[in-house]
């Protein structure tokens, strides 16, 4: 794709030397080239690369302008080209992940700010914005319609349930005893071994007996990879991947606090302690820091943490169930899951999923 703007020209960057030049431009602005890119565009003046940006799925990443071009409208040209590329792919909505101080540049271009997270300890910060529709406003309107008339204040539990275990069940039963109404949001991103429709269905079946509890698809604004691209501000020397996942977690929790919780009328969020996974344990730690903090822009959400249920001296977890399946010991998983999940695991529909778990070595 190529289009001319006066003596400037937007072109797709493909060849290795051009990509190296682009990497140098990103590096000069303290950014690294994001991985797994779809479309990389460059704004050229003659042969000189003045600005670059890329589109990965529906996320704009790796946007940088040569220092001397700042304020010269290069960003507007490039963002326009990226938006048009997205539209040509049928995408009405795109997101951008950028540094907090760049957020006003995008807001000026008509992007909506979803959240800003800054982690003083690591020096990292990120802003998440979106452009177009359907956007977060549409999503919130739909969700509000869905939960109209439910008791407030409510409690919320966000779960992946890959698959639904007795641990999840205990957490939800506990939450339902403490709160007038529980909204369960099931992570919709389909990156888990158990497909989303199966996970959702097993949570619904396994909680059918709880009268004051309702299960919803999590949608694109609750722990989704579309809102968590691998594009970050430059970490301070010495900071590691941990500070990056901390930034991810902080953004998700900011969105939860300022957008999701108010729609659901949530005063509390319930969570199980995380004994194994470091990412989840970081997430839980930040949850206790970000959600209950008194702030002017949004109401606090209390966090209530329940110790994991144990069985045979080990915490009941979905990853343990997957491990047992992987090693061909499905029968041993029986005490770890509710009957509803067990019935599904023994059904013909489960066979392809079980086969995938046996043959694939992924964390999720």
């Amino acid at each position: 794709m190529s289009s001319a703007y006066g003596d400037r020209d937007v072109r797709e960057i493909r060849d290795a030397p051009d990509l190296a030049e682009r990497e140098a431009l990103l590096a000069s602005r303290g950014l690294s080239a994001p991985g797994g890119e779809g479309l990389v565009l460059g704004l050229y003046e003659g042969d000189a690369l003045r600005a670059t940006g890329s589109l990965v799925g529906d996320v704009i990443q790796g946007l940088a302008t040569a220092r001397e071009d700042e304020g010269g409208g290069s960003a507007a040209v490039l963002v326009t080209a990226l938006l048009k590329a997205a539209a040509a792919r049928g995408l009405g909505r795109v997101a951008v992940f950028t540094k907090p101080r760049e957020a006003p540049v995008f807001e000026d271009l008509g992007f909506r700010r979803l959240a800003i997270a800054e982690r003083p300890a690591s020096g990292l910060g990120a802003a998440l914005l979106e452009w177009g529709s359907p956007g977060i406003g549409d999503w919130k309107t739909d969700l509000a319609r869905r939960v109209e008339g439910r008791p407030r204040p409510s409690g919320v539990v966000v779960v992946n349930c890959n698959p639904f275990t007795r641990g999840h069940l205990a957490l939800l039963e506990w939450a339902a005893k403490l709160s007038a109404w529980i909204h369960v949001l099931v992570v919709e991103e389909d990156r888990s071994l158990f497909p989303f429709p199966v996970r959702l269905d097993l949570v619904r079946k396994g909680t059918a007996h709880i009268r004051n509890l309702e299960v919803h698809p999590g949608g694109p604004y609750v722990i989704s990879s579309a809102t968590f691209p691998t594009y970050f501000t430059r970490p301070r020397p010495g900071s590691s991947d941990d500070s990056v996942s901390e930034l991810h977690a902080a953004l998700d929790l900011e969105i939860f606090r300022t957008h999701v919780a108010p729609v659901l009328g949530a005063a509390e969020r319930f969570v199980g302690t995380e004994p194994y996974c470091p990412t989840t344990s970081t997430y839980n730690r930040l949850m206790k820091e970000i959600l209950p903090a008194p702030r002017a822009d949004s109401a606090p959400v209390a966090v209530r943490e329940m110790p994991r249920v144990e069985q045979g001296g080990e915490a009941v977890s979905a990853s343990r169930v997957r491990d047992l399946i992987r090693s061909g010991r499905l029968e041993e998983a029986r005490p770890l899951v509710p009957d509803t999940t067990w019935e599904w695991l023994r059904s013909p529909g489960a066979e392809p999923v079980l086969e995938r778990i046996r043959t694939r070595d992924t964390r999720h």
């Binding site: 703007y5 409208g73 507007a76 040209v77 963002v79 326009t80 938006l83 048009k84 539209a87 040509a88 049928g90 995408l91 009405g92 271009l109 008509g110 177009g132 529709s133």
Partner: protein, 90 residues
């Protein structure tokens, strides 16, 4: 005409305007007007947009106009182009 697909015309550069047309369920047309000079020209931009869309018989669409200080003739041209693109088959 019914909007068949996402279509854009124009740009976010200064003195230009970016027009985005997206298909929507039903027959209605929903307008969103943004401008750096919304106070002085917001109403004019809206009336020109509605007039051009109505002349084309647009239905079942969301029209977003992001004005960066464009002249009226530029706005009209961008609207016409976006409408043509939205109507065209893939």
């Amino acid at each position: 005409m019914k909007a068949m697909k996402e279509a854009m015309a124009g740009s976010l550069e200064s003195s230009d305007v970016l027009v985005t047309i997206s298909p929507r369920e039903g027959a209605g047309v929903e307008y969103t007007i943004e401008s750096i000079v919304i106070k002085q020209y917001g109403r004019r931009i809206r009336s020109v947009t509605e007039e051009v869309a109505a002349a084309a018989g647009l239905s079942g669409a969301a029209v977003r106009v992001q004005d960066r200080g464009a002249l009226e003739c530029t706005l009209r041209a961008r609207l016409e182009t976006a409408l043509e693109r939205a109507a065209a088959g893939p």
